[in-house]
Amino acid sequence: MATPQRPVFLNLFKIRLPLPGVVSFAHRVSGALMFFGIPFVLYLFDLSLSGPEGFAQARSWAGSLWLTPVIVLLAWSLCYHLLAGIRYLLMDLDLGIDRKASYLSAAWVAGLALLLSLWLLLEIYL
């Protein structure tokens, strides 16, 4: 084998993050998604309070097929960001910071967020 070429540039797609690292990155992604979702939600909020017609329109838009990807992403982001955030707050209190506990809680956050967002989506669509 030849000596590696220098300088070495880090390729983000070749770094295999451990599970807590994935959970951390996804916390950022979900936060950024919600940042862009603020005006969308404010628009629906404003519309829903503008009168009975606006309320019905906001409700039908929130349940419409073409907005489904936006609603699904925002619902997941909200649930995931909350649960991962609670995990970080507990870690700030020195709870669950050893290697084994942090892997376990990362897996729980990822799984529970899917369940919670599924429930939220059922609340919205049913």
Binding site: R28, G31, A32, M34, F35, I38, P39, L42, F45, D46, S48, L49, G51, P52, F55, A56, L78, L82, G85, I86, L89, D92, L120, E123
Partner: protein, 113 residues
């Protein structure tokens, strides 16, 4: 704002706002779960309640602050040229201030003023 919110104070503000946002979210989800098929009148009168208005107003302030600190941290990590980062900060602040004004307008109207 950015100078005042650097370092430890931003760290603390991010966590305090997180606790409030989390509590509000749980409260809102429970309220929705208890009233599955809300009518317009119920929705409107619920938001005209001064306590709900106050809690929602505080929520908006906490949300915008939390969003600002979070996005600032992301930009700080990934956008390295100073001019580009400062421009991005400016856009983010304008975006959040516009959202704040919009939310204030909605809540003022909901209060019936």
């Amino acid at each position: 704002m950015s100078a005042g919110l650097s370092g430890l104070r931003a760290w603390l503000a991010q966590r305090l706002s997180a606790v409030y946002l989390g509590l509000y979210f749980i409260f809102a989800v429970l309220a929705i779960a208890v009233h599955p098929h809300l009518s317009y009148e119920e929705w409107r009168s619920w938001l005209a309640n001064p306590w709900v208005l106050l809690a929602t107003g505080i929520f908006m302030v906490a949300l915008l602050m939390h969003a600002w600190i979070g996005v600032r941290d992301i930009l700080l990590d990934y956008v390295h040229p100073l001019w580009l980062r400062v421009s991005a900060y400016g856009l983010v602040v304008m975006f959040l201030l516009a959202c704040g004004l919009w939310a204030a307008k909605i809540l003022l109207q909901a209060s019936g003023l």
